[in-house]
């Protein structure tokens, strides 16, 4: 009998996410994907998956889950979420092997919004348009194109998982400081004062924020020549300013095109950090050049690779049924990473 993970009392926004779908924007399909892709990669590599394997993403907490059959090795990342197995606390950023009938409860984290639950071997789900990511608004991907509900059962791709040696890391603290943005593309649709305000004042994350967009509360930004533009392409990170002058940052589930002027774009390197800001949290922006933004991105990717390589990489202890090879994603062997600076000491095994 195949193993499965059953939702007993899930929170409202648990969805299957991987790194998103690419190549379908021209047909109006949002890329979707993990709000904090680095954290998804971390949970995956902990359980021995390729970094881009699909996992469960949740907001604030994941609720109660149960292993209905088989067993599975799991890891939770994203923040210091209160994880418990049959009521016994276990650490986040660590693997734990769940056996049949055991319950997994994931409660709140003080320091994060988006958390990730990875299972060794991944889930048995059909990909849609090249990805398992859920875009609930259009009913694409994931588990029936929607967030998980009580009673849903996710089939596990690995026949058995776990066994020797659990793994654990202590993730480095996320960087602090203002969120970097590249100004434009519709800079000409804003007054100079609007740009100064965006870069010089504090904003707060509004409670009405979701995977599609984070609304910001703070000083209004004045348009030049009206607030309607002929629709053009948008990206996660695009900072749109609608008629009320209050900026909103488009996130992973954003529409592919939009008709509001975009004053700036939050850079790739800082978008996960922005995503993890809790409602009412304060933030500031700073402007960087495209070239600087691309350097930040390269640094962040290199730092992630170092972190992933620090995770002991053993021979697989699970037998994948539906193996999806992603050779480019496979972390390098742990030997090379053994002495790297800045790594948390792996404690397991």
């Amino acid at each position: 009998m195949p193993g499965f993970l059953r939702a007993i009392a899930p929170t409202p926004f648990v969805t299957v996410q991987d790194r998103g779908r690419q190549g379908w924007r021209r047909f109006g399909v949002s890329a979707s994907g993990a709000m904090d892709p680095d954290q998804l990669a971390l949970a995956n590599v902990l359980v021995g998956n390729p970094p881009g394997e699909a996992g469960l993403e949740f907001a604030f907490a994941a609720g109660v889950w149960e292993v209905g059959a088989g067993q599975c090795r799991i890891a939770v990342s994203g923040g210091a979420f209160a994880v418990a197995v049959d009521g016994v606390p276990v650490p986040a950023f660590a693997t734990v092997t769940l056996r049949r009938g055991q319950s997994l409860t994931i409660g709140a984290a003080p320091d994060a919004v988006w958390g990730y639950l990875a299972v060794a071997g991944g889930f048995v789900l059909p990909d849609q348009l090249g990805s398992l990511s859920t875009h609930a608004r259009s009913g694409i991907g994931g588990f029936a194109g929607r967030s998980l509900r009580a009673g849903d059962e996710l089939e596990l791709a690995a026949e058995r998982a776990g066994g020797r040696g659990e793994r654990r890391i202590v993730p480095p603290p996320p960087p602090a400081g203002p969120i970097a943005v590249v100004l434009g593309p519709q800079l000409d649709r804003f007054t100079e004062a609007a740009v100064e305000t965006l870069l010089g004042t504090e904003y707060r994350i509004d409670r009405h924020s979701d995977r599609m967009a984070y609304r910001l509360a703070g000083a209004t930004l004045a348009h030049r020549g009206g607030h309607d533009i002929v629709s053009d392409g948008t990206m996660p990170g695009s900072i749109q300013v609608p008629g009320n002058g209050m900026p909103l940052v488009l996130m992973r589930d954003c529409q592919t095109t939009g008709g509001y002027p975009k004053i700036a774009t939050a850079v790739t390197a800082d978008l996960p950090r922005l995503a993890q800001l809790r409602p009412e949290a304060a933030l500031r922006f700073r402007a960087v050049t495209v070239e600087e933004a691309q350097r930040l991105r390269a640094h962040r990717m290199a730092a992630l690779q170092r972190l992933l390589r620090s995770i002991p990489h053993r021979s697989a202890t699970c037998v994948p049924v539906a193996f999806r090879p992603e050779p480019a994603d496979r972390p390098e062997s742990a030997e090379r990473a053994a002495d790297r600076p800045g790594l948390a000491a792996p404690s397991g095994g």
Binding site: Q22, G23, W24, R25, R26, F27, G28, V29, Q128, L129, R137, S138, G139, I140, V181, V182, G184, P185, I229, V230, S231, D232, G233, T234, M235, G237, S238, Q255, T256, T257, K262, T265, A266, V267, T268, A269, V290, E291, A293, Q294, L296, R297, A298, M301
Partner: protein
């Protein structure tokens, strides 16, 4: 340059009995082409001409992984054709580092991998192609004839639109079913198809109160645009009919029916034919609507 080609659509299968036939070659066809040089020909035709001003698009960063080539903040067929010509030119070049392109009314967004190509070098590549854009032929356009049922209950807002425009429903129907539309872009939602070429007499501000949901297949008018709805959405546009065609069907081999640059005409059908077509398998229905698949007569 060659004179403007005759854009008038061939007669369709015909409107429902008792309704006036569409006025062929009405203002809609010319509305889409402000200049005779627009050359909206049946097949490959060069874009750009001495008559319209040459576009000097701006190349602007969209963060660190995308840029936009902006042809100007306006909806017109020349801009849109320039956008599509640039996209095709880039696709043919197969430049390393370009991950995907997103054409819209007036701009081409290029998503790229900065580890493979930087903003500056990519902008240079784009500029080089912009210089050679004039005279570049567009790929052959695919042509669709889309059946639409306008009768109740499909034309949800036909009466309301009739009052707003001061036009009888029959006139709206015939003016809507007359022009050959161009797919300007697909966006907003998967497969949501924006059409240019609406008869200016049908231009109308959005409804005062948006509908919380309209079904997939809804055929709508809003502002100076027409659209085909692909998934259930909320909208303030006027729903004047419904097609059994599925613009987006994730389980079909080719999930998206319409691509930017396609030509679309509407064929009025009765509810009975709507029901018959709606019962067909998605792939069969799709083939039937390809005008160039010799299925003019359904």
């Amino acid at each position: 340059m060659s004179p403007a080609p005759d854009l008038r659509p061939e007669p369709l299968a015909g409107p429902p009995a008792g309704r006036a036939p569409p006025a062929w070659g009405a203002s809609a066809a010319t509305a889409e082409r402000p200049s005779p040089a627009a050359g909206d020909g049946p097949r490959s035709r060069p874009i750009g001409n001495p008559a319209p001003p040459r576009f000097r698009p701006l190349i602007l960063p969209v963060g660190d992984t995308a840029l936009t080539v902006d042809f100007g903040d306006a909806i017109d067929p020349l801009r849109n054709r320039a956008v599509l010509a640039l996209e095709q030119s880039l696709a043919a070049a197969e430049l390393p580092g370009i991950l995907e392109t997103v054409p819209s009314y007036r701009a081409l967004m290029i998503v790229y991998d900065p580890a493979e190509i930087g903003f500056g070098p990519l902008a240079e590549q784009v500029r080089a192609r912009l210089d050679r854009l004039e005279g570049r032929a567009l790929a052959p356009r695919r042509r669709w004839v889309v059946p639409v049922a306008y009768d109740p209950p499909f034309g949800l807002d036909l009466d309301e639109l009739s009052q707003a425009l001061g036009l009888p429903a029959e006139a709206i129907l015939s003016r809507h079913a007359t022009p050959a539309y161009s797919v300007y872009m697909v966006g907003f939602a998967p497969g949501f198809t924006y059409l240019g070429g609406l008869d200016p007499a049908l231009a109308v501000p959005r409804r005062a109160s948006p509908r919380p949901i309209v079904p997939a297949g809804s055929v709508m008018i809003g502002g100076q645009q027409a659209a085909i709805v692909s998934v259930p959405i909320p909208t303030g546009w006027y729903v004047i009919g419904r097609t059994p065609m599925r613009a987006f069907d994730p389980d079909r081999a080719d999930p998206f029916m319409f691509r930017p640059g396609d030509r679309v005409r509407f064929r009025p059908v009765r509810p009975a034919e709507f029901a018959r077509l709606a019962a067909l398998p998605a792939d069969e229905l799709r083939i039937l609507a390809r005008e160039d698949a010799a299925c003019q007569d359904f």
